[in-house]
Symmetry: C2
Subunit: 161 residues, 2 copies
DNA sequence: AGACTTTCATTGGCATGCAAACGACCCGCA
DNA sequence: TGCGGGTCGTTTGCATGCCAATGAAAGTCT
């Protein structure tokens, strides 16, 4: 270990307060006990696993390809809603995918505001190769949990989404 | 809200595959069933709640204040590790907090590489007012769950972090 | 002491993510 | 038929978030 004056604050063992309010100090707040912090950390680990296993696609780019594969062509905003990205975000994602030739865009005939996005041949092929890896990523993300716990976590996350 | 909630049973002969692989289509991938997607969506909802309840502070800015209040002054990188932000990210957060006079920075005496960050009077006061709100944010984030489920989710998230 | 390894802070670059503002366009309704 | 409200895509601005590279400063090992 390093001896560079790095007090790791061992703190007390004690029966912790699961809510994060701690009577020991004035404000009663422990960052690491908050749901938001835990969600962020879990997500961070997941993203690290993702980029290690699928270096050529970002999670969002893959999500867009997956949804296009799942549901077929859609307008940009539709696709954004389906993947939980706002209009500004999905635009950047689609632009980058289009620049790589993984998706194609064309204006809609019925509604001239809309920009229809569809998978290209290359995009479909890449997705087909990537999908199994994506399942492995989910697997590795949930690796610390037993099968029963994985289903439970999934269900709980879905309910607070 | 979706049918993914009943994933706790062994299921029948050919029920849903909770892992997200679905034999019905070629690639066998359902985006909305993946842990990463659910983590992201849950986090998204949490961030929305946060910014609605605490418009003057971002989650990361608040986290930095909270950690400083909890552990006292620390170097920038130390604080980053304590709040799970990398060196590049924590720098921006501290810069913005310093510009608002909520934290102060000064070079360390013992180690001239280090930049010691501490709460200012104003920062401590703001945190004192914000901490109760932060607890409410956690509360609202977990509102859809029963107390027992909240503890369970927290524990599961901690294990995959 | 001198070389090698680490750590610290900073910077540049790329990719989200969200809010707000815009112009174009569609639709229901008076 | 014309108009106001809502949608679509775009752009700008700000705040993460991470990687890689860099120079300065410590620490370690011989």
């Amino acid at each position: 270990m390093t001896a560079a004056g790095d007090a790791t604050t061992g703190k007390g063992p004690a029966g912790e307060d699961p809510q994060g309010a701690d009577p020991r100090d004035g404000t009663g707040y422990r960052l690491t006990a908050q749901a938001g912090h835990l969600l962020r950390r879990a997500n961070q680990r997941h993203l690290a696993i993702f980029s290690a296993r699928m270096p050529d696609l970002t999670p969002r780019q893959f999500a867009a390809l997956a949804k296009l594969d799942e549901e077929g062509p859609a307008s940009q905003n539709q696709l954004g809603r389906a993947t939980s990205m706002d209009a500004a975000t999905i635009k950047g994602v689609i632009d980058r995918l289009a620049r790589r030739g993984l998706v194609a865009t064309e204006p809609s005939q019925e509604d001239r505001r809309r920009l229809i996005v569809s998978l290209t041949e290359a995009g479909a092929e890449l997705f087909a190769r990537a999908a199994p890896v994506a399942l492995e990523i989910t697997e590795e993300t949930l690796a610390p949990l037993a099968p029963e716990e994985r289903r439970l976590l999934t269900a709980l996350l879905d309910r607070i989404s």
